[in-house]
Amino acid sequence: MDLLNFLFLDSLYEFFNPKKRIFIGYLLIAVLIAAFWLVYFRKLNLREAINKIFDKKILFSKSAKSDYLLFFINQIIMSVISPVLITQLAIATALFYYFHSVSWLDAGVWNNTPLVIIISAFTLFHFLLEDFSKYFVHRLMHKWPILWAIHKVHHSATFLTPMTVFRTHPLEGVVFSLRSAFTQAISISSFVFLFGPQVDIATILGANIFIFAFNIAGSNLRHSHIDISYWKWLEYLIISPAQHQVHHSVLKQHHDKNFGVALAVWDWFFGSLHHSEKIENLKLGIHINQKEDTHSLRSLYFEPLKEIILIVIKPLTKLKQILKLIKFTLIGVNR
């Protein structure tokens, strides 16, 4: 019970950690932005705006309730899994060693670069690498059947709330952990190798300055029903909340669009960009007639596993049939 208590408190800590999306400060800013948007652009009065933001039908929907549960349960599962996953430190050290053994690479060649440039370069490089790798892995999550089986959990949300970020299968958590470990290791090892020991990251409240900017710009609204859109030109560069809501839409024309997190440029370059559209009550989820059962814990945790097993077994049963056929043919020949 103590352990559960501890984990519960540990989960709540996420609300007070500025490195996390659901930091209370970012949530408050998101509310302010949403209110401003609804009053100024949607012409609601303040009371209507508040009612819309805190829409009980959404916040207490079956979909949202399962998000909240997953937030706590995953925390427990990940606390067991994370310690056995390879760390960014282990990979960074191995890479740092490796760079020393590459004959055409010289350690510390840019040691004398002014500190402000080193820090700016590292901070920007790491942000870009992180954002690109998130785009890339997200794209894979949609394109590979095994990965889609687990990513579907996130897309099964029929209402979006900031807590939907936690509507994630633990196996997907493992994939994201490894992605993060590798990108951090690449940034750290290459920069320390080339620029020496003064490499550092520019942060605000401990968060990468760019991530901080992204979060105070209302990152929480991408998982919400407040469809804030940007100017068209800006949506080529930065993903607007409405663009991400499009990504969650059940409509066929919205499938496999807008994989990016902060930047839209990756989607633009690789042909998956979709601008926001003015659609009243955009339908979200995996299917048009999605079953209520998809919000049950059993379904959220075990359906992906079942699906993966089926994907793996299918070719095996085919192989078995082929072997049977060969055996039959051979025995037939012998006769």
Binding site: R21, M78, T87, N111, K134, V165, G173, I188, I201, N208
Partner: protein
């Protein structure tokens, strides 16, 4: 007014507490009473380790001479001399006045050579024993005539000093006095250490080991910073415990590895100095409490526990030094590379590199003089370091010929050598769990890793 009065009283009480004699307070190594049965002389303190202090002084003086090219003088401190030799180091500096100026004021008839490690030293060319390696180094130092030889990259004072600390002090303490001499049949506690002695076999064995450790008798009453500054001759008040205006090398000075322990502890991450010194004090109390009787098995077991604490922490202090200087060598190569690229003058930076490499090598060899064979760790350490530093023309000492002259051959590149230094640091962390980690070349990587933080929750951005 009342406030002033309170302050005055507090100052008085505090002052009295400070002025209390440290003896018998559990924080000083001695004095301890005579426990030897049947002793009728007038001695009252059974503690004796002046022979060890004499060897510390011989070591410090030898280091001072190692760049002079004067072989007979060096040998007089290494092998001992009939003459009452002058103490070259530690010698008075400004206000920091040393009580003794001649070696025999501490102890006569002592030498380093007779107490040097007799095992094979694999990390030095020529397949020699510890004592032979030291003699070889001293001969080469004299031949060369100055501290640093750019031809081999060797800094002789550093090599000789750092290796001697291991080959003599560390080895004698952990592999002799705290090893076989602690056994039940060796130097028993119900007999004098030797005929005519006023201390028992176990009392003196323990004292000798403490003497080699090198800590001042009152050092547990001081901070790591103070202990460090005693050896740096910067804190007379901390050193002069009895307030007689001079520092008695026999009891008031920190030598050798004890000094290095304090140097790491002052960073706040470790407590080697106090751990080892306290274990020595506690062990001596157990022996004193046996009151001249043979030790019981239970008492011996207690001593073994303390002996292990001493051995392990002492080893860590040496491993921390290997770690530190591997980091220095890495940084020195970085600097040299920058200077070479800019076509600058490398003379000074190269000499610094040689000095740090000498310290690294000396400590690495010392680490291999302990009670236990460190096996694979030693092999890795010796291979990665090589017999000499990688020189500016990318050559390195690879052996000695039949006359004991160094042979050089092509070495791996600078960057690969830097990688070796990183791996040596990692080896010290993995094998000895060093914590102070001075000059940590991977510190930035671990700091940044911690700063960026792992992603341990399942989140879909």
């Amino acid at each position: 007014m009342q406030n002033k009065f309170t302050k005055l009283i507090l100052a008085g009480v505090f002052g009295t507490t400070l002025a209390l004699p440290a003896f018998g307070d559990g924080h000083s190594y001695g004095p301890f009473p005579i426990t030897l049965k049947g002793y009728s002389g007038d001695k009252t303190n059974s503690v004796s380790y002046s022979g060890q202090i004499a060897r510390h002084v011989q070591h410090d003086s030898l280091k001072k001479l190692a760049g002079s090219g004067n072989l007979p003088e060096m040998m007089a401190y290494f092998k001992g001399s009939d003459k009452n030799k002058k103490i070259l180091a530690p010698a008075s500096k400004g206000d920091f006045k040393i009580k003794q100026t001649l070696l025999n004021e501490i102890s006569s008839g002592k030498n380093l050579s007779g107490k040097s490690y007799k095992g094979l030293v694999n990390g030095w060319p020529g397949g020699m024993t510890g004592v032979e390696v030291l003699e070889h180094m001293i001969n080469k130092a004299a031949e060369h005539g100055s501290a640093f030889d750019p031809n081999t990259g060797y800094n002789y004072p550093q090599l000789i000093s750092k290796f001697a600390m291991g080959a003599v002090f560390y080895n004698q303490a952990v592999d002799n006095y705290l090893d076989e001499k602690l056994g039940p049949d060796n130097k028993p506690n119900n007999k004098p250490y030797k005929d005519g002695a006023y201390y028992t076999g176990k009392e003196h064995s323990w004292d000798e080991a403490f003497g080699y450790w090198g800590a001042a008798a009152h050092s547990l009453n001081l901070t790591a910073e103070q202990n460090y500054n005693i050896t740096k001759m910067k804190d007379m008040a901390a050193a002069d415990h009895n307030g007689d205006g001079v520092v008695d090398l026999k009891t008031e000075y920190n030598f050798a590895h004890a000094y290095y322990a304090a140097s790491y502890d002052k960073g706040g991450k470790t407590d080697y100095f106090n751990t080892v010194t306290q274990a020595f004090v506690d062990g001596r109390k157990i022996i004193t409490a046996a009151n001249g009787e043979a030790l019981t098995n239970a008492q011996r077991s207690q001593l073994y526990v303390l002996r292990d604490i001493i051995g392990q922490n002492w080893e860590k202090v040496i491993a921390e030094s290997v770690f530190k200087y591997a980091g220095s060598v890495y940084k020195d190569i970085d600097k040299l590379q920058t200077i070479i690229e800019a076509n600058g003058d490398t003379t000074k930076a190269f000499a610094t590199y040689g000095k740090h490499w000498g310290e690294l090598k000396g400590f690495a060899l010392a680490l291999q003089c302990g009670k236990n064979n460190i096996g694979e760790t030693a092999v890795k350490l010796n291979r990665m370091m090589g017999f000499g530093p990688v020189l500016l023309n990318s050559s390195q000492v690879t052996g000695v010929d039949s006359n004991g002259n160094f042979i050089k051959d092509e070495a791996s590149g600078w960057d690969e050598y830097k990688l070796h230094m990183l791996k040596i640091q990692k080896l010290m962390v993995d094998v000895f769990a060093v914590k102070a980690r001075a000059n940590d070349q991977l510190a930035n990587i671990s700091d940044l890793s911690a700063k960026l933080g792992g992603s341990n929750s399942a989140e879909n951005d």
